[in-house]
Symmetry: C3
Subunit: 225 residues, 3 copies
């Protein structure tokens, strides 16, 4: 799946924050600027430090045992491509964790750059000892098999929150940092990158002048289009 | 708006925690001791360190684009008085952020002591680099203009949580620390201060005796009224 | 209440994480592996550091003032047994705190190992200065007496979340760490301990091989039963 244009976009995104990506997506009329609510940084630190992840999504769908689809025949964690961000989707209000330390050990060995769990994860200390980035809904302790099964891998999955209707497609760019997690649809990657450079330059100039005493309105008129 | 009695109350409040303020407000029959649920410290550290803010509220009301009121004609951040706490009110379940790093750069240049965002804020690292205190509901990445507009500044605003019915009036004292954010209505400022000194002395004596082995009941009878 | 078999189980549990306990409880068909959702570490650090607590539950039930039961006649905090974990149950959506610094001062003096508050607690800095472990739903600032009263001590209490139907009985083992809080029913203590040793050995071997490049599926087949 990895292509040279994908590589270039991932490289370019390293220069920007999730907020920069959202600013560009808002200009491209992509709703909520791609923000995925409820998913925050837990490892290597809890919402602290310089950690940032960027990569194409490798998606995993968990569903209740009552779901008519069969359990996925192999373990999804054994097929994560190098450079990918693992995205695990889990139904809401499940007390059990869907992701743990051994998953990250395997993902890291495969060259994944981080995991985003729309659900609970566990083994917090082990995740941090691995220095492996985890973004998730919340913590947990119990494994999921009494309630859930994996039903699909690398299919479009929905964010499981009642605040938003957002889809993560395999290969969409996932970007995570202190502010949360953003999805950048694959087809908008190049357009977004082109917008970001100008934005960030304008905002940097605004910050300098505002710190010196210029009003926000004046700085905005002067430096933003 | 700043008066010398206001200054004295702000100065006196520096000596006390949000819990001390709430204890006094409960005695004055002000419900929930003025606690504003859901608003926690994000900058300069996430619920850690000695940060505390105290100041009169400068309020800002965001509403959905469908709101009949027109957009406020100027940028609210250009009129924050020195010493104020900016309070930004945003409807619930909005994935977009209503406050960012450039707002804090401007507020800090104006001498504001901190910002309380009843909504999402963004640019977490920039906020921390500014060493500017932020209390908020949650993080975010996207700007708000696709969904919301500012409709009023320095008007009474409601806390946007389903747990409480609380109003923040312009000029009410806002106090924020590790425990959260408390509103002290302007007209109760002096009465509350008078109660706090006695409370804190009693509680300090109780702590000493309890640590030595006295029962809570005995210490309470001995030192509290 | 303390017995020598209880002491041995508490001692054995010191070797394991909350996740290890949940793994064993899932095998024993105890739902959600005993995980108690919504209760996370706040002191001595916010979800960081090596803090872990283990002990039999000493339970406290708060109810609305309208509850027909009378207020409990003495202060519950004066009767905490050495080695116990205090568990305070509070109805949902209460903005007021039900637990504060003086409670921990007293509990610590009695030899309690930590407190789990299914509700809001306050005096965050004081809790941390005491180096006393607190797990709770959230922070707060106001005392509870305008809304709530203690109605029972050392009775079975329900976890107050809409995600789960879980009961904590007096004497059940409570285990808390970075991943959250788990209840291990008293009668399952010995059986759970026997399962944990094997589990942890298998998982350690899996982690070593997976880090070297073995697939998760192969490692699981090789080391797990």
């Amino acid at each position: 799946m990895a292509t040279s244009s994908e590589d270039l976009i991932v490289k370019a995104l390293q220069e920007y924050t999730t907020c920069d990506v959202s600013d560009a997506l808002i200009k491209l009329k992509f709703r909520n600027g791609g923000f995925l609510s409820g998913l925050t940084m837990w490892s290597p630190q809890r919402q602290d430090g310089p950690t940032k992840i960027v990569g194409p999504a490798y998606t995993v769908e968990y569903a209740p045992l009552s779901d008519p689809r069969p359990k996925y025949p192999t373990h999804y964690i054994d097929s994560v491509p190098a450079g990918a961000v693992v995205f695990v989707s889990c139904p809401p209000k499940i007390p059990n964790a869907v992701y743990g330390g051994l998953m990250s050990t395997r993902a890291k060995a495969s060259g994944a750059v981080g995991s985003v769990i729309d659900g609970r994860f566990r083994d917090v200390q082990e995740q941090r000892d691995l220095n492996y980035p985890i973004f998730a809904r919340d913590v947990g302790t119990a494994p999921p098999a009494e309630l859930l099964k994996v039903v699909a891998v690398n299919v479009p999955v929905k964010l499981q929150t009642d605040e938003q209707d957002m889809t993560i497609n395999p290969g969409d760019y996932l970007i995570g940092d202190l502010n949360g997690v953003v999805v950048l649809p694959k087809e908008l990657g190049e357009k977004a990158i082109l917008l970001m450079k100008k934005q960030v330059e304008a905002d940097s100039k605004m910050a300098v002048e505002i710190a010196k005493g210029m009003s926000f309105s004046e700085a905005s008129k002067k430096f933003r289009l």
